[in-house]
């Protein structure tokens, strides 16, 4: 490693933060773009499972709340793509790479939402898992990303409230409603346990080495289990993992998540990947005239 790069590495590892105009190693810039772009893609693709339920929301209040959540997430993707753009990759290119399958998005957004129970579990637990990762990004070595993460975490905290409220309402309802929640939890548990990634040691994780992330994958998963399993249990729900328990030393033990499934899904082979990417592509095509008209108007 050349001395300048070593100096940069020491700087970020001792908590130093980097601005857009600062010198940075190419490898750092490339990793940043890849990581942040995937986050932007996930915010944008993440609205699609929920979008399917806007027209089927059980009450007007829920419909409005869900629409607001979708607006928040799309807003996050705009903020995040702005950060990627300043690093050198234009938003148009990010969208093109997303649609062509060249870039990735998080595993949880490749799955179907079968019932209203799924909508509650997504807003409560998927957003909870996401906020754990995002909270760790508040300390990201790339300062512009860390700064927008504050607004994003703030808005995500609304989503968890919304999700908990949906779940609590259903758990206070009929047996059929409680059953819907349990079924949704059973469906989402696998993807949730895969969400934070394989338990690679953080010192071998390039994203941690550059301090783009401030915690390892397993740390994040343990934090998720610690925060949310008790909340799941107290509602009388069952976590579909007979091995799940908290050891004396405070560490959660669980059945090994299906890493092959994770890899298969994020490389574009999830049950809903093709359909959702096709929706992005066709929507982009259909709205092309709006962008053209706006730019012509502004010119």
């Amino acid at each position: 490693m050349d001395p300048r790069e070593q100096e940069f590495l020491d700087y970020v590892q001792s908590g130093g933060q980097v601005e857009t105009d600062d010198w940075m190693p190419d490898d750092y810039r490339t990793k940043l773009i890849k990581f942040i772009e995937m986050h932007g893609n996930s915010e944008l693709m993440g609205v699609l499972p929920e979008r399917e339920w806007i027209l089927r929301a059980p009450t007007l209040q829920r419909k409005l709340a869900l629409t607001a959540k979708v607006q928040d997430e799309v807003g996050h993707s705009q903020l995040i793509y702005r950060v990627v753009e300043d690093l050198g990759k234009p938003r148009e290119q990010c969208l093109a790479d997303l649609i062509s399958g060249k870039s990735k998005f998080h595993n949880v957004f490749h799955y179907p939402t079968k019932t209203w129970g799924d909508v509650g579990v997504i807003a409560w637990l998927v957003d909870a898992a996401a906020i754990i990762s995002q909270k760790a990004l508040l300390k990201c070595s790339y300062a512009p990303y860390a700064r927008i993460m504050k607004k994003i975490c703030w808005e995500e905290s609304f989503h968890i409230l919304h999700g908990r409220d949906v779940i609590l309402t259903m758990m206070l309802g009929t047996d059929e409603q409680r059953e819907l929640v349990q079924e949704a939890l059973d469906r989402w548990w696998g993807p949730l346990m895969q969400f934070h990634g394989n338990p690679i040691s953080r010192d071998e994780d390039p994203m941690y080495v550059w301090r783009i992330k401030s915690q390892g994958n397993e740390e994040a998963r343990q934090q998720f289990l610690d925060g949310y399993v008790p909340q799941i249990w107290e509602l009388g729900l069952t976590v579909p993992d007979p091995k799940l328990r908290k050891n004396e030393d405070g560490v959660w033990e669980y059945t090994e998540p299906d890493w092959d499934e994770l890899k298969h899904v994020v490389t574009g082979h999830g049950p809903k990947t093709a359909e959702r990417l096709e929706l992005r592509r066709s929507t982009r095509e259909e709205t092309e005239w709006v962008r053209r008209a706006m730019l012509a108007e502004a010119a």
Partner: protein, 139 residues
């Protein structure tokens, strides 16, 4: 902020530990933003606008982030949606990035410490003055 008449969506303080953003920290301190003129693309048809927000009347505006828009007429609604729709701002400044001139070198070749607190080491001198007064009283 919760409850009747307030925004029922605003979570109560502390519900998520440190997960909530602290709006007072948003934007950080002046001079640390590094407005990235260097990454502008010359063929871009849109403009980057930097957005500054004031959280409460009387407070300083702090950098919030940026929006991309074809012109000011579009930048305004974008900034409103991104940085004002939850009542988190009392006012916004929307400024084309090109209009922001960053100064980050503060050389002090002449050592003009009389402008600064470190030019006045009162504590040490006061200690010595007290000792002297004490000594002259004793003699």
């Amino acid at each position: 902020m919760e409850g009747e008449g307030g925004n029922p969506e605003v979570p109560p303080d502390g519900i998520l530990g440190d997960a909530e953003a602290r709006p007072e920290e948003e934007g950080g301190t002046w001079g640390k933003h590094g407005f990235p003129h260097g990454s502008e693309q010359s063929e871009r048809r849109s403009v980057i606008y930097e957005v500054f927000r004031q959280e409460r009347k009387g407070q300083a505006f702090a950098h919030a982030g940026s929006v991309e828009a074809p012109n000011e007429a579009f930048a305004e609604p974008y900034a409103r949606e991104q940085y004002g729709r939850r009542g988190e701002s009392t006012a916004l400044w929307v400024v084309p990035r090109e209009a922001v001139h960053e100064i980050e070198d503060f050389a002090d070749e002449l050592g003009r410490n009389y402008h600064r607190v470190d030019g006045y080491p009162l504590k040490e001198k006061l200690g010595r003055a007290r000792e002297r007064a004490e000594a002259s009283r004793a003699s």
